[in-house]
């Protein structure tokens, strides 16, 4: 248990140490690359901004991710159960996912002018629903027919079969995709926060660091984003343990 906590902490310390040494050995000025020792003062100087902006980023990311879970699961169910829907929707989904989302920022900000919260959530959602839809779809379409037959032979309804068999059986794939989507959603949120004029959130803080030539602040924002990403990732792991812990065969 101790090593479970100590190992990753040690790894982070080693990483920060190597970073510090790299900057020190090359004698880089902090406008080229800030070193870890520059970061605590930057955090301290803007600590209130970090809390308010961090909260902005976090809640909009989580909101976008929750939309992605709902919509992604729905699309996954449709392509998982219907072959026609699968054939029809896959090219659209793949095509949509292949579009670099940065190119959509001006599009959605023109459609929903001034709706900063909404646009940010929308982008977080658009960038993160694809892995969920695909994994739920594959999980449902690859369900062995025998699993269905044990309940179908007893006259169980489609909904009962979905609830008792298909849904729980798909949970491990779903959580695997959710881990990818959780980190993707941050990218979506920050894209809008950085690009939008007068944006809010950590992305906007990053942008203001850039505008003001405050390079330690920019690096501090990156670390704060990484921290939030890790928090959300472990929140997903925590949910996975509760709802799909049975799939972990090395556990206990």
């Amino acid at each position: 248990m101790l090593s479970k906590v100590a190992t990753p902490i040690l790894a982070v310390i080693v990483f920060l140490g190597l970073w510090e040494v790299l900057v020190w050995v090359n004698d880089w000025p902090n406008y080229k690359m800030a070193s870890p020792s520059d970061l605590p003062p930057a955090f301290w100087k803007y600590k209130e901004l970090f809390f308010t902006m961090g909260w902005q980023t976090l809640w909009r990311t989580v909101a976008g991710l929750m939309l992605a879970v709902l919509f992604g699961t729905l699309i996954g169910m449709i392509i998982g159960f219907s072959k026609i829907a699968r054939d029809a929707l896959y090219p659209l989904l793949v095509g949509f996912n292949a579009i670099p989302k940065a190119t959509l920022v001006p599009v959605i900000s023109l459609i929903f002018i001034g709706q900063h919260d909404f646009n940010t959530i929308l982008m977080a959602f658009m960038i993160s629903f694809f892995p969920i839809a695909v994994s739920v779809g594959i999980g449902l379409s690859t369900l062995e027919p025998e699993y269905r037959d044990i309940l179908r032979a007893l006259g169980a309804s489609r909904f009962t079969i979905f609830r008792k068999i298909a849904l729980p059986k798909t949970l491990p794939e779903f959580f695997g995709a959710l881990k990818v989507s959780a980190t993707l959603a941050f990218i979506g949120t920050n894209l809008v926060e950085i690009v939008s004029p007068h944006g809010r959130g950590l992305g906007a803080l990053f942008k203001s660091g850039e505008t003001n030539g405050d390079y330690p602040l920019m690096f501090a924002v990156l670390i704060a984003l990484a921290f939030l990403g890790i928090v959300l990732y472990y929140a997903v792991i925590f949910l996975e343990r509760i709802f799909a812990g049975w799939a972990d065969r090395n556990g206990d």
């Binding site: 062995e144 025998e146 037959d149 044990i150 007893l154 006259g155 008792k164 059986k169 799939a247 065969r249």
Partner: protein, 273 residues
């Protein structure tokens, strides 16, 4: 309804398959798998169905379970034509298909959640434990399926197929993936379950010894498209032990069945020494 005499008693036919034909749609046109199949299984008896690979045996189980409708012909259970799934059917497959997120006990209870939703939980548990006890899985009821051996998983699967006291048990090669010794253990488990809980069974198998040990009749299907090629009444005592397979009587039956399988495969019966 047709009636049969077995050991002096009148027995109704529980399963009647009359002239059933079925074909699957494939990319290269319809693929007929069953062609005028006739099977009758008297109540309380055990019918073993053997035949060459891919001759449509699994299709037969789906028709009896009401999971599929035949293109032609009729399937009757209890004097009623099968039009869809029924709660009185139990199924077990070669793959035990246990749900990994449930314990063994919860897996066995599953059919009761569908068939008897109002049954108190304590009664469900008691019923499941009764069966788990019969197959020697007491002490494993709170384990996950992945913690059990293949043979134990298949025992649990048999319990699940019987937990709601079905009158028809459909077994699609349930012992096919097990090693020879485990398989023989499970034959005996099956025999004991039958003694404890009467049911009518259709067993699909590739193992002729299994068909003779467990069956009251052995039905040989022809190659695809399958029809009933040969029916053997297994005239062995009800309480069979494994040694019975080494008696001249059983050896004679196995010999006949082997010849029938060769005919079904389209090979010559006369063997060159």
């Amino acid at each position: 309804m047709a009636a049969f005499y077995i050991k002096g008693k009148i027995i109704e036919n529980l399963i009647e398959i009359k002239g059933v034909s079925h074909a699957y749609e494939t990319a290269t046109g319809p693929l007929p798998v069953l062609d005028g199949l006739d099977v009758t299984v008297p109540a309380g008896t055990f019918a073993a169905v053997v035949g060459p690979s891919g001759c449509g045996k699994s299709t037969l189980t789906k028709l009896v379970a009401g999971l599929m409708k035949p293109d032609a012909g009729e399937v009757w259970l209890h004097g009623e034509q099968v039009k869809g799934p029924r709660k009185t059917v139990g199924m077990a497959f070669q793959n035990p298909v246990l749900l990994e997120w449930r314990t063994i006990l919860e897996n066995v209870i599953l059919p009761l959640e569908i068939v008897a939703p109002s049954m108190p939980k304590a009664d469900r548990v008691a019923r499941a434990l009764e069966l788990l006890n019969m197959v020697g899985l007491i002490g494993f009821e709170h384990k996950r399926p992945s913690e059990l051996s293949g043979g134990m998983r298949q025992r649990a699967s048999l319990c699940r197929s019987l937990v709601h006291k079905p009158d028809v048990l459909i077994l699609d090669e349930p012992f096919g993936a097990l090693d020879a010794f485990t398989r023989e253990d499970l034959w005996q488990t099956m025999r004991d379950l039958r003694r404890a809980e009467p049911f009518t069974a259709v067993l699909i198998t590739h193992d002729l010894r299994e068909s003779v040990f467990l069956g009251d009749q052995v039905i040989v299907l022809s190659g695809r498209p399958a029809r009933t090629q040969y029916v053997m009444n297994v005239d062995l005592p009800e309480d069979r032990v494994l040694d019975i397979l080494f008696t001249p009587q059983a050896a004679g039956m196995l010999h006949i069945l082997r010849d029938q399988i060769k005919i079904a495969q389209g090979r010559n019966v006369v063997e060159t020494q």
